[in-house]
């Protein structure tokens, strides 16, 4: 028989004024297994705790029930208290007789009855408690940041500055991400490259940061504190160990293909740096277009290179690295508007460009050296139409969400056009104008004063006429049809998660929301964590946001990682699922239910009579399991059970209530 002690807290008068301890305590004494029951004014106080500790040794108590405030309040307190006694900290149950009894009921008699019921439930449950022991898992003091945009750069720098090793992984040949492509940033209009490239350089030079560009994650295993990540280094065909980045090779390459960085507005060679300020500032060969790699004919770059860096036989390599924490900073991409909006020509009209293409156009280092020119004929546009919410807030065609940054960069684009092309006209078609940010509303006002014309309504159709683009839509404020003949149209398109997010998140076991953004652990209180322990979020991979928000989230994620890496080991909650292998038939019903991919089927050796067999059973990874217990309800045989909330314990509670 268990020897249960029950301790009833008055909580001053908070409990005692409604629930009668003089009835409750004697009633507890009568419950099966209870060998001692007492009450006190404040159980959580020093003398209260001392009294519990004394009673434990005096009465040979092996488990306790504390009838007090919510377990969410003091469960940890009392567990800590038990650490100094003969009892395991998990041999404790709390009957919530304050928040869920004395504070919500007025009738003293009935409230006391209910409190007796709650204590009886706790007594019954605790009779089935078993000692649990927290496991401690060692922390590998290294972080992996996936994605080398501004979010990843910021997070990597913060972690590295705190003294921890970081691997910054980028799948493109250079870090920099979308911010490197921008011209100016709102609302201050400072040059994007001027503020981001120094950070890129810092990353490249930081002793604690190892840059792994042109790399992709192949697989992830393990859990918080010890992830094993297989990273695939794509073949670069250029030996970066000796390459100085002189750039000679690029000059004579006979191949010209669309530049990714300039979004097709210019060409690049097959051996190339992503952009002039690329970090690392060394080229790679694009195997898809290189003549030597495709046909074995060319080899000019190899001949040119003074250091012999070119290696056409280079192959992709996979390395496996260990990390204690992972930050996801995989960013966004713009939706493929052409595929969604046939009524805008579906990509047939060259003078309809995306906002990001405009950024490249207006950038001094861009294909037009900063001159705003129409792609079709290189003429300066006189009338420009900017269409917002292309793909955003459009559940029928695109995304139902707001992409958050477009209102501001639409205003910025308008401002830049009006400034660079005096006398030009800019029409901005909008659904709403949203400017919640420091200096944002002022910037928007300024743009209107600059002469941008805001028209409320969606453009329903764009077609070509006489070398111009006719934009047709409704002015929903006036309730009339509008037609604007424009020389150029800029579509401020929606953000969507980067390509490949599905594979990466499923490798990690991280969830995605309805729109495929990575799901944060809690939308309010744990916005930079995922529900996978040790995996954090920075920037737009979690949802659309602008640069300031991205950078602050990156720093926040970095702070979480630093906090984690500062420990050499961490305790995991012992209240996790456990498998009784004898009972498990290996049906796998639990595997798909687990949100953390914590359960796998594992082959074990067993005997069947005299025969040796191998059979599969469920196996819970204690580093990944968070103790939700969803698997236990799916396990028909009850082979899986949740420690601390075992089936038997919950059934005891049910039975006890019904007495």
């Amino acid at each position: 028989m268990s020897r249960i002690g029950v301790f009833v807290c008055h909580c001053g008068t908070n409990i005692a004024s409604v629930v009668d301890p003089d009835r409750l305590t004697p009633a507890a004494r009568e419950m099966p297994g209870v060998v001692y029951a007492a009450d006190y004014r404040y159980m959580c106080s020093e003398p209260g705790q001392q009294m519990i500790k004394d009673s434990i040794s005096e009465h040979g108590i092996d488990r306790i029930v504390i009838a007090s405030c919510s377990p969410r309040m003091h469960e940890t307190t009392f567990r800590k208290m038990l650490k100094g006694t003969s009892i395991n900290p998990y041999m404790l149950e709390i009957a919530n007789i304050r928040e869920q009894c004395s504070w919500v009921h007025a009738d003293k008699g009935r409230a006391t009855e209910k409190a007796i019921g709650l204590v009886r439930m706790a007594v019954s449950k605790v009779s089935k408690n078993e000692p649990l022991y927290a496991q401690s898992i060692p922390i590998t003091k290294r972080a992996l940041v996936i994605g080398g945009g501004i979010a990843g750069i910021q997070a990597a720098l913060d972690i590295a500055d705190a003294g921890h090793e970081v691997v910054l992984l980028e799948r493109e040949p250079s870090i920099g991400g979308k911010m490197a492509m921008l011209d100016k940033t709102f609302p201050t209009l400072d040059c994007s490259a001027c503020i981001s490239t120094p950070k890129m350089v810092d990353v490249g030079a930081h002793p604690n940061i190892r840059l792994m560009t042109y790399c992709e994650v192949e697989s992830v295993s393990g859990y918080i504190g010890s992830f094993e990540v297989a990273i695939r280094q794509k073949a670069r065909y250029v030996n970066h160990d000796i390459c100085t980045g002189c750039g000679l090779c690029e000059t004579k390459c006979p191949v010209k293909v669309d530049s990714e960085f300039n979004l097709g507005l210019s060409k690049r060679p097959a051996i190339y740096k992503l952009f002039p300020q690329a970090v690392p500032s060394k080229p790679v060969i694009d195997s898809e277009s290189c003549r030597m790699l495709k046909d074995g004919k060319c080899g000019i770059c190899a001949k040119l290179c003074p250091l012999g860096c070119i290696d056409y036989k280079d192959e992709a390599r996979t390395v496996t690295e260990s990390f204690g924490a992972i930050i996801m900073a995989t960013g966004y991409q713009l939706v493929d508007w052409a595929a969604m909006y046939g009524e805008y020509g579906g990509g047939r009209y060259r003078d309809i460009i995306s906002g990001l293409q405009f950024e490249r156009t207006v950038n001094a280092a861009g294909p037009t050296e900063g001159h705003i020119l129409r792609p079709s004929d290189g003429r300066e546009p006189e009338t420009v139409v900017i269409v917002k919410c292309v793909g955003s807030r459009d559940p029928k065609k695109g995304k139902s969400y707001c992409s958050r940054a477009c209102c501001m960069y639409a205003a910025k684009h308008a401002h830049q056009i009006l400034e660079k092309l005096p006398g030009s006209r800019v029409f901005i078609f909008y659904i709403d104008v949203r400017t919640p940010g420091k200096g944002y509303e002022e910037f928007y006002d300024q743009t209107r004063m600059d002469g941008a014309v805001y028209v409320r309504g969606r453009i329903s159709k764009i077609y070509e006429e006489d070398g111009g683009l006719v934009c047709q839509g409704e002015d929903s404020l006036l309730g009339s049809q509008v037609r604007v003949r424009a020389d150029m149209v800029i579509l401020e398109t929606a953000m969507e998660p980067s390509q490949g997010i599905e594979g990466l998140t499923s490798m990690l076991g991280a969830a995605r929301d309805a729109n495929n953004w990575i799901q944060e652990a809690h939308p309010k209180l744990r916005p930079v964590e995922t529900q996978v322990g040790g995996v954090f979020l920075a920037g737009t991979c979690q949802g659309p946001k602008d640069i300031p928000d991205t950078v602050s989230q990156a720093s926040a994620a970095a702070a979480k990682v630093i906090g984690l890496l500062n420990k050499s080991e961490m305790e995991t909650s012992p209240m996790i699922s456990a498998v009784e292998r004898d009972k498990c038939s290996g049906c796998g019903a639990c595997v798909g239910i687990c949100p953390y991919k914590a359960i796998t089927l594992q082959e074990i050796d067993d005997r069947l009579g005299a025969k040796r067999i191998k059979r599969e059973v469920a196996s819970v990874n204690s580093g990944l399991c968070q103790g939700c217990g969803a698997c236990t309800a799916a396990c028909r045989t009850g082979a899986l059970d949740l420690l601390g909330f075992r089936n038997g314990q919950i059934l005891e509670e049910v039975d006890a209530l019904c007495l």
Binding site: M1, S2, R3
Partner: protein
């Protein structure tokens, strides 16, 4: 509708006439509430419980080898051999293996425990009078044998030489340490062994069957009482056969799942025998006549 056959059969073996089951309005399935008056930790998973009736008497007077049905109230009942008895108590040593034994291990001194019995036959104490006795035990298997050792020691003059050969996996797993190291060596020959060498152990190391052969006990006028895990029994029996013992002179006790203890519920049969009534004590030659379902 009394049947004459029943009474005749009952006369043949010790029946719980004095037990609480029989005393309480004849319902043999009704336990008596007794008290645990002393608990001894034998090994990490074996405890010995000393049990007494509520008014301080012996629950019943078992013969060596007989069984008691013990219950943790509200959890369940199971059959255990009575390992010792005193003036006003009986003792059972219980290994923790399942739900019920776990509950019993949770008992404290002074707690209540349900008792009924004694059940089953007993070691043939009269038939082996005058013989040399060799007790061979392994692990918790010493428990049922202990009752007979104590019986023989109390009637030392009735029996010839007494040898106890006992082994366990490790020093920690040896049960009844005060008996095997202090009480018994003074009055009989003890031979203790453990499976693997340990630092604090300077006694014999090795398995029971080989130790048995090593000791080369003569089969002459000797009866062996053998109890332990099935695999040990098997090898010991082989050793004993090699040493020239006959199966008639090797006695063991059996364990089976039992619910009623009185030959009704059907569980513990081996062929037409019920372990709870016809056993648990059998000679090896008797077992040879039973189906191999143990």
């Amino acid at each position: 509708m009394a049947r004459p056959g029943g009474a005749a059969a009952a006369a043949k073996r010790p029946v719980a006439e004095a037990g609480p089951g029989a005393a309480r309005e004849g319902n043999p399935l009704l336990p008596a509430m007794c008290r645990v008056i002393k608990i001894t930790d034998e090994t990490p998973d074996v405890k010995t419980f000393r049990i007494q009736t509520a008014d301080g008497a012996k629950p019943f007077d078992p013969m060596p080898g007989q069984l008691a049905m013990l219950s943790a109230m509200g959890v369940g009942e199971a059959m255990f051999s009575v390992t010792a008895k005193g003036e006003d108590w009986i003792e059972s040593s219980i290994k923790r293996v399942g739900l019920l034994t776990e509950a019993l291990h949770g008992l404290s001194e002074g707690d209540m425990i349900g008792v009924r019995g004694p059940y089953g036959n007993h070691f043939p104490v009269d038939a082996i009078k005058g013989r040399d006795l060799l007790f061979v035990g392994g692990g918790i298997g010493l428990a049922p044998v202990r009752s007979l050792i104590r019986y023989a020691l109390e009637r030392r003059e009735d029996y010839g030489s007494l040898d106890v050969l006992y082994g366990s996996r490790s020093y920690d797993d040896l049960v009844f340490k005060s008996d095997i190291f202090e009480n018994w060596p003074a009055v009989c020959n003890t031979h203790i062994t453990i499976d693997n060498a340990e630092e604090r152990w300077d006694g014999h190391v090795g398995f029971v069957p080989s130790y048995l052969e090593e000791k080369a006990f003569s089969p002459e006028n000797r009866v062996v009482v053998l109890c332990g895990p099935p695999i040990m029994i098997k090898f010991c029996l082989e050793s004993l056969m090699r040493m020239g013992f006959s199966k008639e002179n090797v006695i063991t006790t059996l364990e089976m799942r039992m619910k009623c203890g009185v030959g009704k519920c059907g569980r513990c049969n081996i062929g037409s025998k019920y372990v709870c009534l016809d056993g648990p004590v059998f000679t090896m030659s008797e077992l040879d006549g039973l189906p191999d379902e143990k």
